[in-house]
Symmetry: C2
Subunit: 549 residues, 2 copies
């Protein structure tokens, strides 16, 4: 049995899983881990504030299959609970590695800096928001614990937590043969065959089936298989909101993004008139169903998610989505009898604007669509940048479409560009979210990467204003974002009109630096999707507010 330092084992396994960079902020309890990863040639992208670390590593993980945040104890780890919660909700393979006080102190009354109640506080907090956890305080079990947390994180695509006391980082551990993985099933079960057979029978007998592609297809690396499947049967495909870009939008079977009442009305009409809706890898949450407005009658619905298949009113449990999809492809390729029609559905028409008129969201989207190629990836925050962004033609689109935390966009755009350096990130972010984490553009500048930031600037928490009404506390402080960007070494221009935006985008494309476009929006302009969304959610909020009087 070979002996190896605990941290060497950990970082080598992480490297094997395709990770070449971690994201973090150094702090005393984590310094030995920083030194350890340097030793094997990995480096940490140092951001400015911990919430950003989680978002950056999350986005990296969505593209690479694993993202790693490397943080100090307490003041570091506890400052990224929201991003970890987001990664849990949206099924992102985010691993948090936290330094910690030495094991030898753990039996004492814990009155160390960065400690809250006791040495279990941080673990308890992470237990609430991660899928798997381990405190590596024992060299004998360390390898098994590392393997378990890494495999769970990657294979279940949900966050994991490793806490490593400072005196364990370079402890020698004996490497055993790896215990066979029990997370993934090794072969399809009889239930898998039964489910697949029923799905195909339903689908091929349908008059107008449709496939809804969800985020799990990207998470579980099933995108290619689903392309084969839909081509074999020639089924039309939509994506869910969280699943946007889980199916190539340039594919001839793709007919649009489905977002219930909020999205393109023609896509809604087609999906909701379908007699067989196959949801592949989409969990039908509040957001995936557009606030439960989606009219997807259970009797017409087939849902295939990570470990479950539901057909109308009955459920097959304990299946592995990979085998379900693989079998679907095999069976579909065999049964070449059925071919469906792909309807022609145009994107929702966006109004034109005169070049000299105040800038509108629609113009931003059209301008971006005119330049988007596979050289770019789109990363969005929440707000109208996300909802209008659903109309962008892109094969990479990363956004917190379900959990909906503000502040995700800028750091995630940085993480995404590190994951895939050939893809320049186009970051869509509202001014409210930019005021939370937008200064992270400094990290892009420091590391010499060149995302384009499109700042949807309406000087307010616009969603809240449209859900409710104008109130002082929805107004944002006015920042000169151009001057601000220049103050930290980036390039920026302001666009007040359509023509100015077109011009700004052209400049951004020519620049090889981080480039911010301060897009000053017509104050009351929102996208049709956001209009429908805020009308719906506004009802609930206004009802609650009405009781107040």
């Amino acid at each position: 049995m070979a002996k190896i330092k605990l941290s060497d084992y950990l970082f080598k396994r992480i490297q094997e899983l395709g990770v070449d960079k971690t994201f973090g902020i150094p702090g005393d309890f984590v310094l030995p881990l920083y030194a350890a990863q340097e030793r094997i040639g990995m480096e940490t992208v140092v951001l400015t504030h911990e919430p950003s670390i989680g978002f950056a590593a999350d986005a990296y993980g969505r593209l690479r299959g694993l993202g790693v945040a490397l943080t100090t104890y307490g003041a570091g780890g506890l400052n990224m609970i929201n991003p970890v919660g987001l990664a849990y909700a949206e099924e992102s393979p985010l691993l948090v590695i936290s330094g910690a006080p030495e094991t030898k102190f753990r039996s004492n009354k814990p009155q160390f800096h960065h400690c809250v109640k006791d040495f279990q506080t941080q673990l308890r907090v992470f237990e609430a928001v991660t899928e798997s956890q381990a405190v590596l305080d024992n060299p004998v079990t360390a390898q098994a614990e590392i393997d378990r947390v890494l495999e769970t994180t990657v294979k279940k695509s949900r966050p994991g937590y490793l806490e490593i006391p400072r005196d364990m980082v370079n402890a020698e551990i004996e490497i055993q043969d790896r215990v066979p993985d029990t997370i993934e099933s090794q072969a399809p079960t009889e239930a898998t065959y039964a489910a697949v057979s029923e799905i195909l029978s339903k689908l091929t007998q349908a008059k107008q089936p449709v496939l809804m592609a969800g985020a799990q297809l990207r998470r579980f690396h099933l995108m290619d298989k689903v392309i084969s499947f839909c081509e074999a049967l020639n089924i039309p495909v939509v994506t869910s909101i969280l699943g946007k870009a889980s199916f190539p939008e340039t594919h001839r079977n793709f007919i649009g993004n489905y977002f219930g009442q909020f999205g393109n009305p023609k896509v809604k009409e087609f999906v909701e008139s379908s007699d067989c809706i196959l949801c592949l890898g989409a969990v039908l949450t509040e957001m995936e169903t557009a606030g439960y407005t989606a009219k997807l009658p259970v009797e017409n619905l087939i849902q295939v998610t990570y470990q479950e298949v539901s057909v109308a009113h009955h459920t097959y449990q304990g299946l592995d989505i990979k085998f379900v999809v693989e079998e679907l492809v095999k069976q579909a390729v065999k049964s070449k009898s059925v071919k469906f029609q792909i309807p022609k559905i145009d994107p929702e028409a966006l109004p034109d604007q005169k070049p000299e008129d105040p800038l509108k969201v629609a113009h931003i989207i059209k301008s971006l669509n005119s330049v988007l190629t596979s050289d770019f990836g789109v990363i969005s925050d929440v707000g109208d940048c996300l909802y209008s962004g659903l109309s962008l033609k892109t094969d990479i689109f990363i956004a917190p479409g379900y959990y909906s935390s503000m502040g995700f966009g800028t750091p995630a755009g940085i993480g995404a560009q590190f994951a895939n350096p050939k893809r320049r990130s186009i970051i869509l972010v509202g001014d409210g979210a930019f005021q939370m984490t937008g200064m992270e553009i400094s990290t892009a500048i420091k590391h010499g990467i060149n995302p384009i930031v499109v700042l949807f600037n309406n000087s307010s928490y616009a969603m809240l204003k449209f859900i409710d009404q104008q109130r002082d506390y929805y107004d944002l402080a006015r920042w000169d974002y151009v001057k601000l960007t220049e103050a930290i070494g980036g390039e920026a221009v302001r666009a007040n009109t359509g023509a100015e935006f077109t011009d700004a985008l052209a400049q951004a494309l020519k620049s090889d630096k981080l480039f911010l476009i301060d897009a000053i929006l017509d104050k009351d302009d929102i996208s049709p999707t956001l209009k429908r969304l805020t009308d719906h959610f506004g009802k609930k909020v206004r009802a609650a507010l009405a009781q107040a009087n």
Copy 2:
């Protein structure tokens, strides 16, 4: 029995407790709570990012006796766990009120936006970092739950958590007679008298006693009593690091701040040669004992903390610090026989610098000491601004001296000025911490308050550099903080030399706006205290790093 809306009851009780402002960021789940507090004339200071909310409300609470953060669910609440952890560790009365999804949805599978695992996730996380918690999902028990959490927060001076589903905000509740409070004892116990008697006997028989004043004296409103006590016996007084300014520094009995091996050597010498050290309201954590370097022999030590008195090797438990201190005063005033000498201890000498030389920390401290009056309060982040700041003569000094989270200073300085508008906040902050939460100066500008920010700019995580060695990842991105401040509407100047700093401070004092001084520090200049601290902690870190090779 009167009927009242739940939110009216809550906010009226909060008002009765002396709170006139809450701190928050609006979000859909919390909007009815915003409207409810508006209705009774309270307002929320809207910050830019949730971690700042916690810090601002914490500082407000340290001065007012209660601080309130008003946040939305998930993306809001989970984004302030680190500040709440800090408030727990440092015993600050911070109440977090979180909006939440409606009770009627709580029995369903929770796939709402801003939800993580289930509707208990956020509660579980807050249980790990708060003293008391309640989900107000039942009108019958709501009043009792509100009372319990408010009283625990205020009387134990530790964070509390109230989660209020959106449909409960304006629910009618019946107001009962308030249940007698069981947190505070109502009278001194026999054990209290015994403890006090033993303390006084030890003290009056000592040759050279000293009183160490800790943070609990301010938290439990005992500062005046302790002044009477030390005057009665004429005992010399030092403050602990977290307790700085818990005893007036202009008082003739005050001899300095005690920070073990790291602080003023003459104070250390006096305290450690004392034959009776009475720690009043100081919990002897790692930081309070300067990394456990403090030489305070147990046989000479008396510790009076929130619910416990220890005299040498034995302990009285379940006492109330208020009665202990009250009895100490009564007995001391009676026994006028003993009067001790107050030694003359000078502050540690700080080197002078030529006006034209690169700016040094010592010059900042001297300049500030020359202008500090009771018109100001000093609020510090961690790093050398804190350690050098221990030499400031001030009667308000708020800093995370134990938990040591970066990012506290700027938002806390804003919270402090709202708590006490007559005191202009002088915010001391390093550039690493400023890059985390410094943009919160925007909130000061928006609300028309005028703190002075002294930015200790050394372009690095200087503490880490001095604990370890120069490494690339300790270098910070260079920001033009002057231009940055101007970009958001504040005033700022840069100071490269002693003369420039003196001049900048004069300008700041004349300004009625937020004013930032970008104090460019001589790169290798640190205060004597930080030098001693990083030498000590560096040993541990370097030992851990050495194993790596």
